[in-house]
Symmetry: C2
Subunit: 246 residues, 2 copies
């Protein structure tokens, strides 16, 4: 049995942001597993089996990947961005823990990638250039009240913030509530950036002062980045200085 | 005048983690500027000028880079990790703001890289798999009291935490204080990981329960990652589940 399993980050969408070690993993895999659009980013080649799965079946997908590796396959689980940031790595370990003990002896590696918040930050300038936090605004896997608490504490702490999964059709009111909480705790001039499809041809980036931020500026494909009271504009860029305070 | 300036992330040290767009920038540059060890990672070639600068002269370095680009040079400022995370991007925009207004018309781009916390997280499993924050523990550019406040709020929020620049010879007591604050607010079983030289040949990674974490386990080249009350071990890995709460 010489199977292995690698969970890799494909970055935000631009092929020029995929690391060589991830490209190497994709080139030597026997099986590619992941959410449909990510699997489709990997070119076909003879002998490569592709397993396209729907969204929201992360645990089933991870278990399937482990089963294949245990049978001797060279398995790559593809994530967008970085697999360790609101993506497939945690799901893989949840499946590992729930499975046969022997799976822990498998050759498993996580290969990092360019996560959406850092691709967006680079396009904008350097809004995450000081202490910051990353929050998944989806309440699929945690109570909404916990998200509200984290937003308040992060604002008190003076963290810049990056929001993943800010808004979906099934819970449009929650992102409106997020903006209300931010307006209660931060200056109305703090820049809020909406970055959609970063690094792709259809990239769209907008920055507005918090006072003018509207819920409909975000959807599930948008990365939202909130500056701090120190975040500044220079030319077409925004950045958060390294130095804290006024 | 056809100069340009790109601030690029070289990742944590392993060449296989440098993105193709960064390699392309390095290959087409006329001038490479940065802290000595990062500049030395770029191979020499005919016509390439290398400007090695000491640590802690970020603003001078950024100003020099802008001057060269304004004169028509193709300038790459090299950062380790990701330039937007406690690295050169913010310094560049500080220098841009302080310089002649015409500099704002320069062709400036930031190219993201694999930042140390995500490389370390990948090696460990997925400790940053839930909401998390990144804090620079150096008080060179902010008051230590602010760092203490952020640590307390981050612990209350239940964020996993990544610490950059955790400890230096000039302020060894501060990291001891950091651990004390964490012990006041988090379960003693929370895993604390010390990742030194991640992705390099001399990589060293240790994980201990918070109760056993000692200040001397970190130095300036160590990335410290603190889990949450939910962070778990499975096999040789640690991960923070996507689902919050017990």
């Amino acid at each position: 049995m010489s199977g292995w399993l690698q969970v890799v980050g494909l970055g935000p969408g631009n092929e020029a942001m995929i690391t060589p070690e991830v490209s190497q993993a994709l080139a030597t895999a026997s099986d590619i597993i992941g959410y449909i659009p990510y699997v489709r980013r990997v070119p076909d080649r003879p002998g490569l089996r592709k397993h396209e799965t729907d969204n929201r079946v992360e645990l089933d997908r991870a278990t399937h990947a482990l089963e294949l590796a245990a049978q001797g396959a060279r398995v790559v689980v593809v994530s967008s961005g970085d697999p360790g940031v609101f993506a497939m790595a945690s799901a893989l370990f949840e499946a590992l823990e729930a499975g046969p003990a022997a799976w822990c002896d498998l050759d498993i590696r996580i290969l990092p990638g360019i996560t959406a918040m850092l691709a967006a930050s680079a396009r904008l300038g350097a809004p995450l250039g000081h202490d910051f936090c990353a929050i998944n605004l989806s309440d699929n896997l945690k109570p909404w009240e916990l998200i509200e608490t984290r937003l308040r504490l992060a604002a008190q702490a003076g963290f810049a913030m990056a929001f993943y999964n800010p808004r979906s059709r099934s819970r449009p009111h929650q992102f409106a509530r997020t903006l209300d909480i931010l307006r209660d705790h931060l200056p109305q001039t703090v820049p809020v950036s909406f970055a959609r499809n970063v690094s792709r041809k259809d990239e769209e980036i907008t920055t507005v002062p918090l006072a003018q931020a509207r819920p409909e500026m975000a959807d599930m494909r948008t990365m939202v980045i909130v500056g701090t009271a120190q975040t500044r504009a220079v030319g077409r860029f925004i950045y958060t200085p390294r130095r804290a305070g006024p």
